[in-house]
Amino acid sequence: MEQRGTGLRSLIVALVVAALAALVPALSGCAADADPIAAAQAPQDDALDLSRAPWADVPNGNNHIGTAPEWPSLQFAPGITYAGALHRLYLAARTGAPQVEDAEVMPPLPREVVYVAPATDADGLRLSLLAPWGWTGSEGAIGLPSINMPGDLPPDEVMDRVREAEASRLPLPEGGRVDVPQLPRCQVGRGAPDNRPPC
């Protein structure tokens, strides 16, 4: 009897220990998740590999708006224009930076929306990373970045500046600026992604 009682107690103790052992990792996991805001602000959450973006990774020609994998969008600080957003994005892409200056990663926009213009001065522009340079209406080809330099320079001077920038690992040559495409109205939301004419 006494042995049976001892055996039962041992079994109960073993079960309690096993249950506690199972609970410890679960509880420690809860502790690790206790601060989701801090976790969301960790640098790795906003890290981008822009070399794989559909406007940068193009070994076999343009990607297409209807078939390219989904990409997030960027919410820029108030006051930054579309041109300013493209400039910052281009610099990040050329330097391999994992983040874009003055921008926060946000969920994707609808595929056909290139950017959402802010409704008020207190809001920021939201730019699609799927097709930040737009897309062609007839074929859906995702636009590719380009830069420009003043047309009054001689060609040799232009190429020298490009080579100097490459040698110095500068994202833009002296006098170079990122091109800003003229977009059809249907690719730009006004205050909200859906506030635009249909494409």
């Binding site: 020609g61 343009n62 380009s146 420009n148 003043p150 047309g151 190429m159 490009v162």
Partner: protein
């Protein structure tokens, strides 16, 4: 003696480096009729820098694209309305042809360089 020879060899190599043209760079001034669609201007294997410029205002707006004719791969088009230099920033493999489509008027020329 050996040191002097080595210095002479280094100096010769440096002189050659300055005098040698950029390997593989090609450029042209390409005349393109308005409304004629995309016209081949020049081609180069494995370009890393592509440049285009409308030489006259009459040649604006215009479109530019890069094509690998062997498999039909295409990059662009880009459309511009000024006479600045424009650079798609692509490193491409294969024989790449630069094409211009004149959306302006007449038969202006376009400076195109592949490097």
């Amino acid at each position: 003696m050996l040191r002097r020879r080595r210095l002479a060899a280094l100096a010769a190599a440096a002189a050659l480096a300055v005098a040698a043209p950029r390997a593989g760079a090609v450029s042209t001034n390409c005349a393109v009729n308005a409304s004629g669609g995309f016209i081949n201007c020049l081609a180069l294997s494995n370009p890393t820098v592509e440049v285009v410029k409308a030489n006259q205002v009459a040649g604006t707006p215009y479109r530019f694209q890069l094509v690998r004719l062997s498999d039909g791969a295409r990059w662009g088009w880009w459309q511009w309305s000024d006479t600045n230099y424009h650079f798609p920033t692509l490193s491409l493999s294969g024989v790449i042809t630069g094409q211009v489509d004149n959306l302006g008027s007449g038969t202006p020329t376009y400076y195109v360089e592949l490097n």
